[in-house]
């Protein structure tokens, strides 16, 4: 897909009557910026390990109303027990398949006439998302509200055509409120491209537990930008599981804009075949007395490749910052590649910061130890990999969600330890 193809899709979108006309100049301006920059290439520092040829060699079209497939789609197999569900099929919110709590204000495409896409940063995929955004969901809690049951936002791509979907998700957790949100990306299509932007804003003393599951089919590209902004005494907990997709990229920006805020980011990536997954994080300590952590692990087999690029910035006034970064990677094949790059940028003097990174093969000593106790090699390998990932999965408090993720891990393991 070249820039002309993107232009054609943009022309189709802009011709739609459903958007407010005052959005037109903004979209057009944004799209021109995208055309000027073009898609990233390997010459760009933050993109040197990510091969975007999947996007270049496939042609995608934007999703139309008839792609909603409201009646024919079966979402039951993707549901997670004891959760509220918002179902989005090929970029369209399907109200009939969704069930959401009363305490929430949900804004979807029906309110689109008054809605303006956000544009935090001007990276090519942000610009593309803003200019081509055709669906959005906003989740706004009331202040002082605890929503116990997790809210599951299910993004499902289905059908035969190569679709390009640019959704935006806005999450506003108001002061002294808390919620758990699960974003899950699944697909049964042969090929598609999803470019998502998520904006989460945490009010004073609020908390958000945010889980993201990338389980797309093999021929998919999933790019996502996540922006988190935190006020005083707020707690943000993020966990991502990546176990699908040909190309998966997460860019995460967290701004600690209030004192005493806590931001914990963690993730597990399970890759095989020729999959590529990259996680780029920027945690910005703007205010003092905040705690941040990054704890990411990957298991790579086949010819897969991964990137962890975690950057923590501690600004001059952010005294008493406590920040940790850890990235551990397990390579199951000689062909798998991992690029790990934890970075600290510290401009304050009274802070506690630590980072570490390890990448290696299975521990042959541990394997022999287990075998010498009668455990066969295959089972010993499974035990070791399970041991490696369970620290992260056991950290998930919600039991049903934890089980859901362990089932996914076991399935992956079964395919990758034969």
């Amino acid at each position: 897909m070249n820039l002309n193809d993107y232009q054609n899709e943009f022309n189709k979108l802009i011709a739609r009557q459903s958007f407010s006309s005052n959005l037109y100049p903004f979209r057009k301006d944004t799209f021109h910026k995208f055309l000027d920059s073009g898609l990233p290439t390997k010459k760009w520092e933050d993109w040197k390990h990510t091969d975007l040829s999947f996007l270049n060699k496939n042609i995608f079209r934007i999703s139309e109303t008839h792609d909603a497939l409201s009646d024919s789609i079966d979402v039951s197999k993707y549901k997670i027990k004891n959760t509220y569900t918002a179902v989005i099929v090929n970029g369209h919110y399907i109200e009939s398949k969704s069930e959401l709590p009363q305490e929430l204000k949900i804004l979807t495409n029906s309110e689109k006439k008054n809605w303006t896409p956000k544009n935090k940063k001007e990276t090519p995929f942000d610009l593309l998302n803003t200019s081509l955004c055709d669906s959005n969901i906003s989740i706004v809690t009331k202040p002082n509200t605890v929503i116990k049951k997790p809210i599951h936002i299910l993004f499902l791509c289905s059908g035969k055509d190569n679709l390009m979907i640019n959704p935006q998700v806005n999450i506003d957790i108001m002061a002294s409120s808390s919620a758990t949100i699960i974003e899950q990306y699944v697909s049964d299509t042969s090929s598609f491209f999803q470019n998502t932007s998520v904006f989460a804003s945490l009010g004073k003393n609020s908390s958000l537990y945010h889980i993201r599951i990338h389980s797309n089919s093999d021929e998919t590209a999933n790019i996502s930008n996540l922006y988190v902004s935190q006020r005083d005494d707020s707690t943000y907990n993020y966990f991502q599981l990546v176990d699908g997709g040909a190309l998966q990229r997460s860019d995460i920006y967290t701004d600690l804009k209030g004192k005493n805020a806590t931001c914990s980011l963690s993730g597990l990536t399970l890759l095989d075949k020729k999959q590529h997954s990259a996680t780029y994080i920027t945690s910005d300590h703007i205010m003092p007395h905040c705690v941040s952590s990054q704890n990411f692990k990957s298991v790579l087999s086949g010819n897969s490749s991964g990137v962890f690029n975690g950057r923590t910035i501690v600004r001059q006034d952010s005294q008493k910052t406590d920040s940790k970064q850890s990235n551990k990677n397990l390579l199951l094949s000689d062909q798998a590649i991992m690029n790990s790059n934890p970075q600290l940028e510290i401009y304050a003097d009274d802070v506690k910061c630590a980072h570490g990174s390890t990448t290696g093969a299975l521990d042959s000593e541990a394997l022999f130890y287990m075998q010498s106790r009668g455990i066969n090699r295959k089972d010993a390998i499974s035990l070791l990999i399970r041991g490696f990932v369970s620290e992260l999965l056991n950290g998930i408090e919600n039991e049903e969600l934890k089980n859901h993720l362990f089932v996914k891990f076991d399935k992956w393991l079964l395919n990758n330890n034969q």
Binding site: Y369, M370, S372, G374, R377, L383, L384
Partner: protein
């Protein structure tokens, strides 16, 4: 039980064992003594089938069968156990879970019903008492955060659970305080019977105060140069190894 014939072993291209002959009968306890680098650990690793320990000549016969082509886990299932000199730490793998996997592998091999979590816990608790080990160690990852003595007790616990017929104790006394040494020795003495054999590998005579070997072998430069009764150990303690070196 175990018959080692003219065993030559090479590690990373370096010849370590130069023709070991050893015959351990059922119910016997043999001690192998020698200085660092004499090949003691190489011998135990060769018997248990560790990778990169290449047998270039000779044979290891266990229960009348050559085991050279057997995978390490098959050797274990056949009844060979090694208490490691440096037990491996396995982060993330729960000690109970690991132990149950090992015991169930053995039970499956013996065509016995595998333990479920509850019945295994009952089984393992009785064994814990024998090695005077706190049950909190079952909840940790394998050997993670264990002191030297705790690691060796955990090895002994595994031995008691897996019930091997040939137990190789590789430098079990190293890193042990006197109380732990007594507990481990008691465990060995209680476990030994007419069908179970021990091969005790040690640098010092210390352990042999508490357990009584039937035969003591002295290993120097990859060869057994002298064998004798337990008095040989006392002689070594007194004179050192130098009088045996040519």
């Amino acid at each position: 039980m175990l018959e080692i014939k003219n065993l030559h072993v090479e590690v990373e291209g370096k010849q370590i064992l130069n023709g070991i002959d050893l015959h351990v009968k059922a119910g016997e306890m043999h001690a192998i003594m020698g200085l660092n680098g004499s090949g003691k650990s190489t011998l135990s690793n060769a018997i248990t089938g560790r990778e990169n320990y290449n047998v270039t000549k000779g044979d290891i016969i266990y229960k009348n069968e050559s085991i050279l082509e057997m995978e390490p886990n098959k050797r274990a299932l056949a009844g060979i156990f090694m208490s490691f000199q440096y037990p491996t730490v396995i982060p993330g793998v729960n000690n109970t879970y690991f132990l149950r996997a090992a015991v169930n592998a053995k039970r499956k091999y013996n065509e016995q019903k595998e333990y479920d979590a509850a019945s295994f816990l009952k089984f393992v608790k009785s064994k814990l008492q024998e090695v005077e080990m706190d049950s909190k160690y079952l909840k940790r990852a394998v050997n993670e955060g264990f002191s030297g003595g705790e690691k060796k007790r955990n090895e002994m616990l595994q031995l008691l659970c897996l019930e091997p017929e040939l137990a190789i104790m590789d430098e079990t006394d190293s890193g042990l305080d006197i109380d732990a040494l007594k507990i481990i020795s008691k465990g060995i003495n209680n476990y030994k019977n007419k069908n179970r054999s021990f091969l005790v590998i040690t640098h010092y005579q210390r352990l042999l105060k508490y357990i009584e070997p039937d035969v003591v072998h002295v290993l120097i430069d990859g060869k057994i140069i002298k064998s004798g009764g337990k008095e040989l150990a006392l002689e070594l303690e007194e004179k050192g190894y130098s009088w045996l070196e040519s």
